[in-house]
């Protein structure tokens, strides 16, 4: 029976008398959201404009956030993290992104696709040496997969690792590395020399100080400019065998499973941008007067606001559904793809309509809405384009149907 649209099993993918619909946040999640919001509104919001204008990463605020465990969201306390579940982590990321999309991106990528893989797949030695500094925010992490010739087609990467004694020698070029400019620990994907495409696909933990790892100048981005995205190239970069994460050939499996979870964080980040757009638009629509009344009294504006809010609400439910599945240890590939594609498109929509509501003022730098517009676009592209997400969803539907 075709049940992809949860007719049989419900949106939470299961059923039975013990299954509960969690449509409201728990007390803990409410306090968490309030705590994160308070910190971000008081400490981060004043820096958000500067980060964008000067394309500058706010180290001082990042250090404060590190002390408050924002860089170890889902890592257990044993390794210096906050030990939050996926839903709680998504809440925190949304609140950060609501104030600064660039910082939200930094925290999301660092947590979901850099620190968390180390926790899941790292052996004890790797956890001690690399996970603990990441969880404490002493070092910032990256996930280096994309190359000039390998974007959506991830398995065609050309970075090679050659085993030489007890070391791998890495050569290749990674581009668009989020957090690259400030990273201390990098997860580098490479294929083993002589290996076939996606056999021998492996991932290596490479400290930024390693000889042969060269960071290029940060990209001049249209949005999220406070995040130092840069190319990282490897020139005979020698990495000890003990730095290989997982087994040889496990790299693609690791990458794909990590991206499932990373998608949730990225969706939460897009949600923050969307929510901020709605908040700004609501305020402006109530204040701005034309033809003797507030904009919010006009039908067209009402429709805009209603559509923005509905999409944001739907996106949030999709995100929390994916979180729920992940926290229950269930497959969440399709659901996280749905959350990512929907939330990112909601963010772009909300920011665009936000500028429309702000009118001419929305096109000036004096109002923050234009920054949200520029920040939102890449959400539909990174961590798997909307096209790739649709492919994932469709494949899963086709595969599951009779």
């Amino acid at each position: 029976m075709f049940n992809a649209l949860f007719q049989e099993t419900g949106p939470l993918g299961g059923r039975g008398p013990k299954e509960e619909m969690h449509l409201e946040p728990t007390m803990k999640q409410a306090v968490l959201r309030r705590t994160a919001r308070k910190f971000c509104e008081t400490r981060l919001s004043s820096a958000a404009g500067m980060m964008d204008r000067d394309a500058r990463f706010p180290w001082d605020i990042a250090r404060e956030m590190a002390d408050l465990q924002y860089f170890g969201l889902e890592i257990p306390a044993l390794y210096g993290g906050a030990g939050l579940d996926t839903a709680s982590s998504a809440i925190v990321i949304e609140e950060i992104a609501r104030v600064s999309a660039a910082m939200g991106l930094c925290v999301s990528v660092h947590n979901s696709v850099s620190a968390y893989p180390l926790y899941l797949y790292g052996d004890e030695g790797q956890r001690r040496e690399y996970l603990i500094p990441l969880a404490r925010g002493e070092k910032i992490g990256t996930f280096c997969l994309t190359e000039p010739n390998a974007g959506s087609d991830a398995s065609s990467i050309e970075t090679r690792a050659f085993l030489h004694g007890d070391e791998y020698v890495l050569n290749g070029n990674k581009i668009f590395v989020t957090n690259g400019g400030v990273s201390g620990v990098n997860l580098i994907f490479a294929t083993l020399e002589g290996g076939q495409k996606d056999r021998g696909f492996s991932v290596f933990i490479v400290d930024s100080e390693t000889r042969g790892l060269v960071k290029g100048p940060p990209e001049d981005l249209i949005g999220m400019r406070g995040n130092p995205v840069c190319p990282i190239s490897l020139h005979d970069c020698r990495v000890p065998v003990k730095n290989r994460l997982g087994e040889e050939g496990e790299g693609l499996k690791i990458a794909l499973s990590i991206l499932d979870g990373g998608r949730i964080g990225i969706a939460a980040q897009a949600l923050g941008i969307a929510q901020a757009s709605l908040d700004l638009s609501l305020r402006y629509a109530k204040e701005r007067q034309q033809f003797g009344k507030a904009l919010s009294e006009f039908g067209a504006i009402k429709h805009f606001l209603a559509d923005m809010a509905t999409r944001i609400d739907a996106a949030r439910l999709l995100v929390f559904r994916a979180c729920h599945l992940k926290d229950k240890g269930r497959h969440h590939g399709r659901e996280s793809a749905m959350a990512k594609v929907y939330a990112s498109e909601a963010a772009v929509y909300a920011a665009r309509i936000g500028i429309q509501i702000h009118g001419g003022y929305g096109c000036t730098k004096a109002y923050p809405i234009e920054r949200l517009y520029r920040d939102s676009k890449v959400c539909e592209i990174y961590e798997g384009t909307s096209e790739v997400q649709r492919m994932i969803i469709a494949r899963s539907l086709i595969h599951e149907s009779v």
């Binding site: 007390m27 906050a82 030990g83």
Partner: protein
């Protein structure tokens, strides 16, 4: 030093709603926060504990939802949380509230050396509860404290009073109500919040467990009753009159006479 901090969960002011029957603020379903000055009091207690040792217990009276406030207090570092909750407590004025709080404090073992709370709340602004607790427990009180120092068996505290800054030496046990100047409020680490919910436990006491009668608590135990709650009248705009000085004076005198604020006087010629 054993300390009890009385905290109150208050509505996040913009979202206030009013129960017209009980003439109190409806707290259920509304985003609630720890009264800011109570949070400051908690931070002050934690600071004293970190420097001089001891224990900090967070105490609150409220509906079950108030557990949230205690969890936050635990996340900030409180050692224990006590929730005083009972349907009979609802509708309490400050006297009935203080009576319940004082009873709970008298039942904590050991009896605290220091009882702290914020000088006033952002929802009712009365500033009554601290002094009322002190009176019930028959301990001294100092209100509006901005600094606390430990001096052997005593405390030396500073408080602003009628334009002067007083230094007061007081023995313990004592009730102190604090102002925002007492210390900096720190940010909560996320892991502490997680731990406060999963690891620490909260004690719950009902009316019966406190040995109280219905007549002593809640609406029945209140000496005052909110008669009417209304928003303040809209601010009337000032009006500007532009005329010669003599005309303005004549006009003003007529206005003041109309408002009956001038004494009857023999008019000089």
């Amino acid at each position: 030093m054993n300390m009890v901090v009385a905290i109150k969960q208050v509505p996040d002011v913009p979202n206030i709603r009013i129960d017209r029957e009980r003439m109190t603020v409806i707290r259920e379903g509304v985003e609630s926060i720890i009264n800011p000055l109570d949070y400051v009091a908690l931070e002050a207690a934690l600071d004293l504990r970190n420097r001089h040792g001891g224990k900090v217990v967070a105490l609150t009276m409220g509906p079950l939802q108030s557990e949230e406030a205690l969890r936050e207090a635990l996340a900030a570092g409180a050692d224990e949380g006590i929730l005083l909750t009972d349907p009979a407590f609802a509708g309490a004025d400050t006297l009935a509230t203080s009576h319940v709080l004082a009873r709970a404090i008298s039942r904590t073992t050991p009896f605290p050396d220091l009882i702290l709370c914020g000088m006033q709340t952002i929802d009712s602004d009365t500033g009554h509860v601290g002094p009322q607790i002190a009176e019930e427990l028959d301990v001294p009180q100092v209100c509006g404290v901005s600094e606390i120092h430990v001096d052997e068996e005593c405390l030396v505290v500073k408080r602003v009073s009628d334009g002067s800054l007083d230094s007061v030496r007081v023995t313990m046990p004592v009730v102190l109500t604090v102002t925002q100047h007492i210390c900096e409020v720190r940010n909560l680490p996320l892991g502490a919040l997680e731990a406060a919910f999963s690891e620490k436990s909260i004690v719950q006491w009902s009316m019966d467990q406190l040995g109280l009668e219905e007549s002593e608590v809640g609406l029945s135990g209140s000496a005052t009753q909110v008669w009417r709650l209304r928003p303040p009248p809209p601010r009337r705009e000032g009006r500007v009159f532009d005329a010669s000085p003599q005309e303005l004076v004549d006009h003003l005198i007529r206005k003041l006479e109309g408002l009956s604020v001038l004494d009857e006087e023999e008019e000089d010629q």
